[in-house]
């Protein structure tokens, strides 16, 4: 009895720092009591000595973040060549499972709830034939409403702020269909979001353990890679052919802002459903129903981001080498 109690006491006496916000938690807690991130991330970091990098998928509510991320995970985990994604921890598969399960039955998955403790997180190892060293990634599925709330009222959603501060790169999802219909809400939302990112302070390099390089970006957001992805592009003529032209036509303000304030921006088009219809369903109201699943342009923006990250790593290494020489 005594050794066991001592063991427990020892565990409880030392707090477990959350990987996202850095605050201490009890060692057997499931999620961080401050930012609601899964503490499994912290356990894996401690146990395996890995420092995953954060890659965020952001956009307005209904832009298709959950579908895009779930589809991306499934495609990268299924394809034999190129980039391959291997999940770390059972919690990392839940998003993929929910998304693919719904799409296989010609339904879109449920909206991500506003509450941060109900978000799905993905921690995975990214392998590629070109890079011998695998990359550890954390990719949370954030709620669009929570992002909007944090933008309007900074510090109201701590998890969002911490994630965006430490994120190395971001996929910015834009609903191309609503843009083509002339709805301007997304335009303003994106401008606010980009301004918010610009105002985020550059993260100070954390004290790395065992001399490992910091996985967090401590560059200002203007120097981090940003992939603007037009989702639901399958219903927009010409979007796949020329995404940047589409941006110039429907998002001129955002494009101008990105050109001036962000050094690494690229435009992509993506679609998951080959065709959709709108239906009125009991207790759900008017919903969109996919008629068939034909993913297109899903992997390309992610590949570009990874290339930028790895290119940036090489550039930094070269810079360090030149400095010492």
């Amino acid at each position: 009895m005594v050794p066991l109690d001592s063991y427990r006491l020892a565990n409880y006496s030392v707090g477990l720092p959350c990987y996202i916000c850095g605050e201490d938690n009890l060692h057997d807690a499931e999620i961080c009591r401050h930012c609601f991130a899964p503490l499994a991330l912290a356990h894996q970091v401690n146990a395996q000595g890995i420092q995953p990098q954060i890659l965020t998928t952001i956009g307005s509510s209904g832009a298709g973040k959950t579908v895009f991320l779930g589809m991306l995970l499934d495609m990268l985990s299924r394809q034999p060549n190129g980039l391959q994604l291997l999940a770390r921890g059972a919690f990392s598969i839940t998003l993929q499972q929910l998304t693919i399960g719904a799409l296989a039955q010609c339904r879109f998955p449920q909206k991500t709830p506003l509450e941060a403790d109900r978000w799905n997180w993905v921690h995975a190892q990214l392998k590629s034939n070109e890079q011998p060293q695998p990359l550890e990634l954390v990719m949370p599925d954030l709620a669009g409403e929570a992002i909007a709330q944090e933008i309007e009222h900074p510090f109201s959603q701590r998890a969002i702020r911490e994630l965006l501060s430490k994120s190395r790169a971001a996929l910015l999802l834009v609903d191309a269909m609503s843009l083509e219909r002339g709805l301007v809400e997304q335009d303003f939302f994106l401008l606010k979001l980009l301004c918010y990112l610009q105002e985020l302070p550059a993260e100070a390099p954390p004290k790395s353990r065992r001399g490992a390089a910091s996985p967090w970006s401590h560059e200002p957001w203007g120097k981090r890679p940003l992939a603007v992805v037009f989702t639901k592009a399958d219903v927009c003529a010409g979007c796949f052919d020329d995404p940047e032209g589409f941006a110039a036509q429907y998002l001129p303000g955002v494009r101008q802002f990105c050109r001036d304030r962000f050094s690494q921006v690229a435009y992509f088009a993506a679609g998951v459903a080959g065709g959709c219809i709108s239906r009125t369903i009991r207790y759900e109201g008017r919903v969109r129903v996919p008629l068939r699943i034909e993913p297109r342009g899903i992997v390309e923006p992610f590949e570009w981001l990874i290339q930028q990250l790895q290119g940036g790593k090489k550039r930094n290494a070269l810079r360090e080498k030149l400095r010492f020489s």
Partner: protein, 455 residues
């Protein structure tokens, strides 16, 4: 189409320039009194006149062909049904015409009841061979249509399950289905023959939109072509980037039609009555288990379309290739909101604005969405990169025996049916429902082909 007419008029005017030039030179020679100039002018005029005469004779021959080959099916039939009264030159033309129709894949027109009696035995053999090479026979019978994946995994149905799973038991007559998807090469024949300019081939309601059916360079043709031609090296790839109306127009041009939903499912799933009240119907053309090597779907193929003759291992029992995978196929059926599972509260009035798609494509992610039963839909004007088609024709619309002769009262009935709808005007001709071919045969006058097909 007005632009095309203007272009042809311009060409006709410019064709007279050489003759005009030579007349001017001759006149100048006469006026100036210079003999060499006069001689040159007269020589040029003579040569121009000779060339013009030769061109006229060629054009006259081509015109005779054009009225039969590029005109409506009834014009062809009329031209071919009365060959005996024509002189030997006409017979030669007829032979050339038949050859041309065979090379263009329009053999189904030659096997129409009104035409087949005009064919020689050799021509009939060739035509039948073309039919055998290009199409597969699907025997008559019933087929189960479901609204999704609510069917048994082993492909067996009992009468109880038919009721429980909301299955529809649909009878299908004997019919022929294209062995392969329509390829770029085949569709090129249609485009080159001016298919987009023949109003009779198109649904009258869609005629204003036909001007918008252009390729990347603005020429009439599928969306992804250039300069009215398919991309080099893609002759045998399935034609894509065509809307439902373009598919229907091509089918009409070759004397066929788009398959119905029930026909498509029957050709793919090949239902068999195992015992009274129990049916066996395949989930995939090769069986009930998915096998990646048999179809070009996401993760199983190269990630793009492949030639229509590939994936032979995935052929149906009847021998139709790529019913599953490569490209979705337009069928003649409507796709309404009822076709999606789930509790339905209300549906808009325009519930059937979509046309049905079957079979899955190279980028179809889930194999459960590329089964014989799964159906999807799209707007009939959509010109997608992964949607093609194949054609069908009812067996009762074709005659394959040489000894077939029209009965005394039969042609009168048939002709009267046609004449009732056709008053010689192209627009009224377009109203004829050629797709179902109902005017060709009636249940009271069964055609000999029925016996042969049943075998």
């Amino acid at each position: 189409m007005r632009l095309h007419a203007l272009k042809s008029q311009l060409i006709a005017v410019t064709a007279w320039f050489p003759m005009l030039g030579s007349v001017v030179v001759t006149t100048a020679g006469l006026v100036s009194g210079r003999l060499p100039l006069l001689a040159v002018g007269l020589g040029a005029l003579a040569i121009t006149l000779l060339v013009r005469c030769w061109k006229w004779s060629i054009a006259a021959k081509a015109n005779a062909h054009l009225t039969t080959t590029s005109g409506p099916a009834h014009d062809e039939e009329a031209a071919l049904t009365a060959p005996s009264s024509q002189p030997s030159g006409g017979e030669a033309d007829l032979k050339a015409l038949i050859l041309e129709m065979l090379t263009r894949g329009r053999y189904a027109l030659l096997l129409r009841r009104q035409i087949v009696s005009g064919l020689s035995a050799e021509q009939l053999d060739f035509t039948r061979q073309a039919l055998a090479d290009g199409m597969v026979v699907v025997p008559a019978g019933e087929v189960m249509l479901s609204d999704g994946e609510s069917t048994a995994d082993d492909g067996r149905f009992t009468d109880d399950e038919v009721d429980r799973y909301r299955l529809a038991r649909v009878p299908v007559e004997d019919f022929f289905l294209d062995r392969y998807l329509v390829s770029n090469r085949q569709y090129q024949q249609f485009v080159s023959a001016g298919g987009y300019e023949q109003a009779a081939l198109w649904d009258p309601t869609i005629l204003p939109a036909v001007l918008d059916f252009v390729d990347q360079t603005g020429h009439p043709g599928p969306r992804f072509w250039k300069n009215g031609r398919h991309l080099p090296g893609q002759e045998e790839y399935p034609v894509v980037g065509i809307c439902w109306y373009e598919a229907a127009a091509y089918a009409r041009w070759v004397g066929k039609r788009l398959p119905t939903d029930a026909e498509w499912v029957k050709a793919a799933s090949w239902p068999v009555a195992v015992s009274p009240g129990v049916w066996q119907q395949r989930k995939y053309p090769w069986g009930n288990a998915f096998e990646p090597c048999r179809a070009n779907l996401w993760g199983c193929g190269p990630g793009h379309t492949v030639p229509v003759e590939e994936f032979a291992a995935g052929a149906s029992v009847g021998g139709a290739y790529q019913l599953i995978g490569n490209v979705w196929e337009w069928t003649s059926g409507d796709f309404g909101y009822d076709d999606v599972e789930g509790p339905l509260l209300s549906e808009p009035a325009s519930a059937a604005v979509m046309k049905c798609l079957r079979g899955g494509a190279f980028d179809t992610y889930f194999e459960t969405q590329a089964t014989c039963q799964f159906r999807s839909g799209d707007h009939p004007l959509a010109r997608k990169h992964n949607v093609g088609f194949r054609c069908a024709i009812s067996a009762c619309d074709l005659v394959l025996t040489a000894d077939y002769e029209l009965q005394a009262d039969e042609p009168a009935d048939a002709d009267r049916d046609v004449a009732d709808d056709y008053d010689g005007d192209e627009s009224s001709y377009a109203n004829l429902d050629l797709d179902d071919g109902s005017y060709v045969s009636t249940p009271s006058n069964p055609l000999p082909i029925a016996e042969e097909v049943a075998v």
